[in-house]
Symmetry: C2
Subunit: 337 residues, 2 copies
């Protein structure tokens, strides 16, 4: 029921995903509204099920709503279904904060993870995408959270993106270890002593340059940065339309080159990648853009299914446990020393 | 002597600025290298002077270099000239950190300003630009620094951009006062009690949307954000070239629409606006992009001249003094209360 185009885009996107793959989808929300969109399509698809509820969390309601006030809300029921093992993962285009809180509180965290992180895949010139996390789940992160983000990002890049020994960059200003904020200097130190493929500090200019496979940062800077980039892309399109519409010649030229621009849009639009994934919770949680259309929802469902099939959070749990053993050994060797 | 295209781009840009306006320029650097570029042009322009030095700060040298090790470096001499009143402002495309440190240490700070802030003008859909500060002079800012950035940004928007009663937004995640980091929540409180036109929190998505006239933030997030946006713009151009070159039809279309794309580039390219301005120091300090070409240098010189003509830092000094009187009064009234 979430997102600007719900329930139509969500229902249609889910149907497309079911038709194109062997995934099964439970549509959680108002049964009548869902049936309205489904029309006769439903009878044709047996891997589609409706879970009815009349409670929804609006885009402007506090993140805690599905826990405190609306325990029958669609986003809460999704988290419940995952927690009970009736679903492998949840996909939403609704209130991001509410989805994160529902997932964290209902599914619970992977043992050893202090905070879940919202991760997003962004394009690069080399075609090999970069995973950025955290893009908005946490502010004022402690150094150990970023260390855990690195482990989770490593697992994601390896298992989902298929990157061998993924390199990990720490988002900062200036490349040297001494540069950056109190937080990044501290994280640099602990990352250096770790077993991951740490590439040191990277700058904002590296985010879309494919410099590293995984970029770790506090959720405040990650969120502001990606939202600003999105607003720059929108402004560029806005100005481009204005400029092209100024003459018949440029309109004609644009029409000729249109297939190229359409391919460009597909390459640059990271909503194509199905939105953001919440890492660190016990189950899949995928948060699409509020403006997701049916196509974006379909992609989100297919990527969520692929994610759940890898059993990523089982692997993440093992990696996090390894990290803790490594750190304990380090502390003990220091104490002995 | 700074920047990727120095000294050619810097000297040529300065010449263009002198030809197109009544500004006088001192070229600070290696006399022979400068004369090589100037050729015979120099004799034709009497508002061009060379100040020779054989010392330069490289792009990778520490920011403190012009103070500690290279006291005859070109960037240091520029700051000296401004400090002695022989120049109104300095323009560089070189090492940003070194320029900031030289300006701060040699020119000194406006009384009442704790930290200078690097500010940058970014485009908006409405055509009225937005000033963002700090974009990289400070990390781990204290709340009162951001309050001072707001006062400096207000003065800049009013005097240089011609915006009446400029609105000021605090860069955060989430719009409500309760959202954001420890820093932004604290700044929100003190901004609310102030006399400026405070518009509350803004998000990354507002940066290129023209939501407010001035955006204040810590230099870590401002720097990472704008550099990421720049790298996204580069990636877009990279992919666009690739896609267009794939067919003759789209190549032809692109050629027809080329004037529109050229106008688009001019509207979006914020290096057109002459780069970043360091606010809070006693004199003008303008830092162009390291990749500045002659055209960008010319714009930087012309904007620097316009800036210096407004006597902005005198006005800023008055505003900062007002702010301090206001805060003292507030403290006293609280003590009396």
């Amino acid at each position: 029921m979430g997102g600007d185009n719900a329930p139509r885009a969500v229902v249609e996107g889910a149907c497309e995903a079911v038709r194109e793959s062997d995934v099964s989808v439970m549509l959680v929300g108002d049964e009548d509204a869902i049936k309205d969109v489904l029309g006769n399509a439903r009878s044709a698809i047996d891997r589609l099920e409706i879970v009815h509820t009349d409670q929804f969390v609006g885009m402007d309601e506090p993140a805690i709503t599905p826990i405190r006030k609306k325990r029958r809300s669609s986003v809460r029921l999704c988290a419940d279904l995952v927690h009970k093992g009736q679903a492998h993962g949840m996909v939403t285009a609704g209130n991001t904060g509410a989805a994160m809180v529902a997932a964290k509180m209902v599914m619970g965290m992977i043992e050893g993870v202090d905070r879940p992180a919202l991760s997003m895949v962004v394009p690069s010139p080399k075609g090999r995408p970069t995973l950025v996390l955290d893009v908005g789940a946490n502010v004022d992160s402690k150094p150990r959270y970023l260390r855990q983000f690195a482990v989770m990002g490593h697992s994601y890049a390896e298992q989902i993106l298929g990157t061998k020994n993924p390199s990990i960059g720490l988002l900062s200003i200036g490349e040297e270890a001494s540069k950056g904020s109190d937080l990044t200097r501290e994280v640099f130190k602990i990352m250096e002593s770790g077993s991951l493929n740490f590439a040191g500090n990277v700058e904002g200019g590296d985010v879309f340059a494919g410099t590293v496979d995984v970029i770790i940062c506090d959720g405040f800077v990650g969120n502001v940065m990606l939202k600003a980039c999105e607003s720059l892309a929108e402004l560029t399109i806005h100005h481009m339309r204005e400029e092209i519409s100024k003459s018949w010649l440029s309109k004609a030229g644009y029409l000729l080159a249109r297939p190229a621009f359409e391919r460009l849009r597909l390459r640059m639009d990271y909503s194509e990648h199905g939105g953001a994934t919440l890492l660190g919770v016990n189950g899949g949680c995928f948060i699409g853009h509020g403006r997701s259309n049916a196509h974006a929802v379909k992609n989100a469902v297919l990527e969520a299914a692929a994610f759940c099939r890898t059993g990523l959070h089982q692997k993440m749990r093992e990696r996090i446990a390894e990290l803790h053993r490594f750190e304990e050994a380090l502390v003990q060797s220091e104490e002995v020393g």
